[in-house]
C-alpha cells in the first residue's frame, strides 16, 4: 500500500515509470505548515472491498490499520495462503509494526469527543484503533494466526525490523511462517509535528512531485509519507512442501543502536553503529561486497544522505569503482516513516523478481559530497534492466536505531 500504487502489481509499474505519490494538501496550507505536501495511498472503497467485509469497510477508520490490513491480506493471498473463520493456525504468526499509529488524523474525533465531555459517544473502537498493536489485532481478527503476534515500534526501522524479528523467530524453530510488515498513518497531526522539527522540504509546495530529492544537491528535507508493506517469511521446508512461490532468501540481518553516542542522537545516527550494523548483516550472510548487486538505501532527502553513502562505502569496504548500484523509492513516495522499511523491502523484492533497478528521480545534480565517494553511474536516474541476485537494505531511525538485511533472489533447483 504505497502512496503511488495500490498493491504489488501496480507498485511494479509505478516504480518503473517513476510515478509520484506526492501531492499538495490544502489543509496543511490552511494550518500554516511550512511543508504543505505529503504522500499517502489513495485508497478507494472499491479497492477496500476486495479484502474487507462490511464491518471493516465501514468501521475501520485509522488509516495506519487500514493500510496494514490491505497489505497483510494481499501478502497472505500472494503467498498462496488462506484462512477461515473457524480455524486457528498455530504454526503461523505475525510481526506488524507501526510508528505514530495513535496520531493518525482519524483520531481527531476521539480526542474532540473526550475534550467536549462526550466520551460516552466513543463506542468500543477507540482503544483498539489507537493501541500500538491495533494493526496486528485487526489483521489477525480475520487471519486467525495462533503463533506469536507481535507489534514492534522502532520509528523508521520498524519495517525492516519486523522482517528481522520474523526471520529470527523462524530461525529459532518456533513457527513455520510469519507475516511481517509495518505501517504508518497520516494527516495533520503527524505531518504538523514533523513540520515543526524543520526537517521537511519547504520549497516545493507548488511543485509537489519535485519535493523529495534524495542525494540531490538541492535537497532540503524529506516529504512525509504513509502506507504499509507486508511479506510472508517461511521456513524453506514449509514453503517447498506446499509448493509456494519463493521470491528471495534472507541471508542475514542485524539491528542495533548507536546508543546516542559518537554523534548519534534522537534524530541522527551514530555512523560507527550504522557501519557495524551493515557489516554484521553481511558477515552473517557470508556475502562479500562484490556480490552485492543493489543497495536499497534509507536516503530520505535530508542532509544525512551523503553521510549514508560514506557509511555504505566503509561497511562494504570497497573502492569507488566497486560500489554497487544504489537507489531509494523516496523520490516517488516520500519517507513513509514506520512504513518505509517494509514498503522499500517489497520494492526490492519486486526489482529482484523482475530484474530491474528503479530510478532515483528528481536529481538535478548529485551532491558533490556523494560524487566524491562513488561514481555517478551507480545512482541510476531512470529505471534500468538488471539482474539482481543479492541486495542489501538498511534503514535508520529516530532513537538512534539501525537495521540492515541481506537478501538473495531464490533460484529454483
Amino acid at each position: 500500500m504505497a502512496p503511488n500504487a495500490l498493491g504489488a502489481a501496480d507498485f511494479e509499474v509505478a516504480l518503473k515509470e517513476g510515478r509520484s505519490g506526492i501531492r499538495f494538501f490544502e489543509e496543511s496550507q490552511s494550518l500554516n505548515f511550512r511543508c504543505q505536501i505529503a504522500a499517502r495511498p489513495l485508497i478507494t472503497d472499491a479497492y477496500k472491498a476486495r479484502y474487507f467485509d462490511d464491518y471493516y469497510q465501514n468501521k475501520l477508520e485509522n488509516k495506519a490499520i487500514i493500510y496494514a490490513c490491505l497489505a497483510g491480506f494481499e501478502a497472505w493471498e500472494n503467498a498462496g495462503l488462506s484462512y477461515s473463520n473457524d480455524q486457528i493456525d498455530f504454526d503461523s504468526g505475525m510481526v506488524i509494526g507501526s510508528g505514530a499509529l495513535g496520531m493518525d488524523s482519524t483520531t481527531a474525533d476521539i480526542w474532540s469527543k473526550i475534550i467536549s465531555g462526550n466520551n460516552k459517544r466513543l463506542g468500543s473502537r477507540a482503544i483498539p484503533q489507537c493501541m500500538s498493536s491495533g494493526a496486528a489485532a485487526y489483521l489477525n481478527k480475520i487471519l486467525g494466526l495462533g503463533n506469536r503476534v507481535l507489534s514492534n515500534s522502532s520509528a523508521c526501522i520498524t519495517g525492516t525490523e519486523s522482517v528481522l524479528l520474523g526471520y529470527e523467530h523462524l530461525k529459532l524453530g518456533k513457527a513455520k511462517r510469519m507475516l511481517c510488515g509495518s505501517t504508518e498513518g497520516d494527516g495533520i497531526f503527524i505531518w504538523g509535528a514533523f513540520d515543526a522539527m524543520r526537517i521537511l522540504t519547504s520549497d516545493s509546495n507548488e511543485d509537489p512531485t519535485n519535493g523529495s530529492r534524495p542525494m540531490c544537491n538541492s535537497r532540503l528535507g524529506f516529504i512525509p509519507g504513509s502506507g504499509s508493506g507486508a511479506m510472508v517469511l517461511e521456513t524453506l521446508e514449509s514453503a517447498q512442501s506446499r509448493g509456494a512461490k519463493i521470491y528471495a532468501e534472507i541471508l542475514g540481518a542485524d539491528v542495533n543502536s548507536g546508543g546516542f553516542r559518537d554523534g548519534g542522537s534522537m534524530t541522527a545516527p551514530n555512523s560507527n553503529a550504522v557501519i557495524h550494523c551493515m557489516k554484521n548483516s553481511l558477515h552473517q550472510a557470508k556475502v562479500s561486497s562484490d556480490e552485492i548487486d543493489l543497495i536499497s538505501g534509507h536516503l530520505t532527502g535530508t542532509k544525512g544522505d551523503s553521510t549514508e553513502i560514506k557509511n555504505w562505502k566503509k561497511a562494504l569496504g570497497c573502492t569507488q569503482d566497486q560500489f554497487p548500484l544504489i537507489n531509494t523509492a523516496k523520490s516517488m513516495i516520500g519517507h513513509c516513516i514506520a512504513g518505509a522499511g517494509s514498503i522499500e523491502l517489497v520494492a526490492t523484492l519486486i526489482q529482484m523478481e523482475k530484474s530491474f533497478v528503479h530510478g532515483n528521480y528528481n536529481i538535478k545534480e548529485v551532491d558533490p559530497d556523494i560524487t566524491a565517494e562513488i561514481p555517478l553511474d551507480r545512482i541510476p536516474m531512470k529505471t534500468v534492466d538488471k539482474e539482481i541476485n543479492t541486495a542489501i537494505k538498511a534503514n535508520f531511525a529516530f532513537g538512534d536505531l539501525n537495521c540492515s538485511i541481506v537478501l538473495r533472489k531464490w533460484q529454483d533447483g
Binding site: 462490511d54 464491518y55 465501514n58 468501521k59 473463520n85 463506542g123 468500543s124
Partner: protein, 84 residues
Amino acid sequence: MDKNKIQEELKNIIAIYVPEKEILDNLTLEHDLINDLKINSAHIVDIVLDVEEKYDIMIEDDVIMQMGTIGQAIDVIHGKVQEK
C-alpha cells in the same frame, strides 16, 4: 412508531456486527444479541450509539442491560421514541 418498522431498522443497524449474516434472514424477537446472533459484547455499546443517533434518543447505561434480545431492544427503542 410502528414496532415492525423499528425491527426492520434495528436489523439494518446490527447487521454489520453479526458475523454470520444468514441468521438475519430469519430474525425473531427472541434472538439474543450476544448468545444467538454472536455479536461481540464490546459491540453492544456501538449498537446503542448507532440506535441513539438513528432515533435521536438517549439510552442510559442501566437500560442497555435490558436490551438482551431483539424484542427487548425494540421495546426500549419504542418506549424512548414515545417519550420524546
